[in-house]
């Protein structure tokens, strides 16, 4: 395939020329996905930690549900959010459809189960170590959730990374609720979908390479943070 070579060429040309459209698209991709992951973390971290700590009837069912939701197809989430945000839907009056807010919302819904599930596992492992000590100090359930989350914070970066990976890579949800509107809701993945549908495979692949480089950069940065800051706190 001649497209591979051409793809690297396109990727290099776009980056080297700091193509303003590319900068805009990359910027929006990062803003949407990072916002979605942070918002999802506000829900997913306490939820996962609570599931790890609390014992209640139906906990097993909740965990199966959570793990299954991780596999939710983005296009289904996109449709649900579309139906909710459409002018004909319950949240229509907010006028959020075809805005970055709708994309953040959709990605957040996609990412919450991942963050919650990874958090549950991570926190449960730490709980096995901490539980008796904390209980004997007189720490209650809420305090235990908070302490476990705080002490597992560098391990939990992995949960956020997993969530970010899903958010930045998905196209099915954002193309439905965002509409892939040029200069408004066009992100890396929807731009790739568009260029593919135009048959410009080299450009599409070039954008894909940039997306990959972006993901590698974010992962490397977070892992470095985890190693240096984590060492300072954990030893």
């Amino acid at each position: 395939m001649q497209d591979f070579g051409a793809a690297f060429g396109e990727a290099f040309r776009l980056v080297a020329s700091l193509d303003p459209d590319l900068v805009e698209i990359v910027g929006l991709s990062l803003r949407v996905s990072v916002s979605a992951v942070l918002a999802a973390a506000l829900i997913g971290l306490p939820l996962g930690a609570a599931l790890a700590v609390a014992r209640f009837p139906g906990r097993g069912v909740a965990m199966v549900a959570l793990n299954s939701l991780m596999g939710l197809p983005p296009v289904v989430v996109g449709l649900l959010i579309y139906l909710a945000l459409s002018r004909a839907g319950p949240l229509g009056p907010l006028g959020l459809l075809y805005t970055p807010w709708a994309m953040i919302l959709a990605q957040m819904v996609l990412v919450v189960p991942i963050i919650a599930a990874v958090t549950r596992q991570t926190v449960e492992d730490l709980k096995d170590e901490y539980e008796e000590q904390l209980r004997v100090l007189g720490v209650g359930t809420a305090g235990m959730v908070a302490t476990l989350l705080w002490d597992a914070r560098f391990s939990l970066l992995t949960a956020l990374l997993a969530g970010f990976g899903r958010a930045i890579a998905e196209v099915g949800a954002v193309i439905i609720v965002g509409g892939n509107i040029d200069h408004v809701t066009r992100v890396m993945t929807t731009a790739i979908a568009l260029e593919t549908s135009k048959g410009d495979l080299a450009l599409a692949l070039g954008l894909g390479l940039i997306l990959l480089a972006l993901a590698i950069g974010v992962n490397a940065a977070v892992m470095t943070l985890r190693r240096t800051a984590g060492h300072a706190a954990y030893g």
Binding site: L137, G138, T147, D151
Partner: protein, 254 residues
């Protein structure tokens, strides 16, 4: 020398849960068909340094956990200061595990954490934590991540952390089982100092020499029961039960 704890408030203003005397009555635990505790009656009163002794698997550690309400008994009851323990307030009880649990933060922050849970005001925590580390001889390690300390240092920090809230009673579960002699000596000194300072101590060990060095009182546990209990002198010189006599003489018990 630590100041004797005020029995009502723990000297923190905010009332902590009073603990002594701890009473266990008819404590029984079965796991997978095996009887681990077989109707134990025991009372921990203010004052003495009690060593709970016995061979491995006798049920010593489990008994200590039941008294601290970490493990609920299948039968029997535990009361603290005459009432049923609840989770409403931090108890005036320190517990030291065989394997110290170090929170992922610095040594001094481990101590600060315990003080915070006990309701010590923020302004006082720093001072109290620093003092506690000085007492435990760990002040030069205050800023080190707790988890990079040596095994002995970690256990000493665990004791400092347990004592920082000025508990009425300190429960220790074989705290020196994994340590070398010099670290063991340091721990024993620390525990003895705490006891002299007015803290009631319950110390679980299977090490006969350690029991001789520390004990005012001995409770000998065998097959899930308290086979014998009494002052250390009498226990070591004239044990009344055959099991205790055999253990002291180093004979193998069935």
């Amino acid at each position: 020398m630590r100041p004797t704890a005020d029995p009502e408030t723990g000297a923190d203003g905010r009332a902590q849960r009073r603990v002594l005397p701890i009473r266990g009555a008819g404590l029984a635990i079965r796991r997978a068909g095996r009887v681990l505790l077989d109707g134990v009656d025991i009372e921990i009163v203010p004052g003495p340094l009690t060593v709970i002794m016995g061979p491995n698997g006798a049920g010593k550690s489990l008994l200590l956990r039941v008294l601290a309400t970490l493990v609920p008994p299948d039968a029997g009851t535990v009361t603290w200061a005459g009432t049923t323990p609840g989770r409403d307030r931090a108890p005036r009880l320190g517990f030291v595990f065989q394997k110290p649990v170090m929170l992922r933060r610095s040594a001094i922050d481990n101590v600060r954490y315990a003080l915070k849970v006990a309701g010590v005001p923020r302004a006082e925590r720093d001072r109290r934590a620093a003092e506690a580390l000085v007492e435990g001889g760990l002040s030069r390690l205050a800023g080190s991540p707790a988890r990079v300390l040596s095994g002995g240092e970690q256990q000493r920090l665990a004791i400092v952390r347990a004592l920082a809230t000025r508990p009425e009673v300190l429960l220790l579960d074989e705290p020196t089982a994994n340590l070398d002699p010099s670290a063991t000596l340091a721990i024993e000194t620390q525990v003895r100092d705490a006891h002299r300072g007015g803290t009631t101590v319950v110390f679980v060990t299977h090490d006969l020499g350690q029991a001789r060095r520390l004990a005012d009182e001995v409770a000998f546990v065998h097959h899930g029961r308290i086979a014998e209990r009494g002052p250390a002198d009498r226990f070591f010189n004239a044990p009344s039960s055959e099991a205790a006599r055999a253990f002291i003489e180093g004979r193998l018990l069935p």
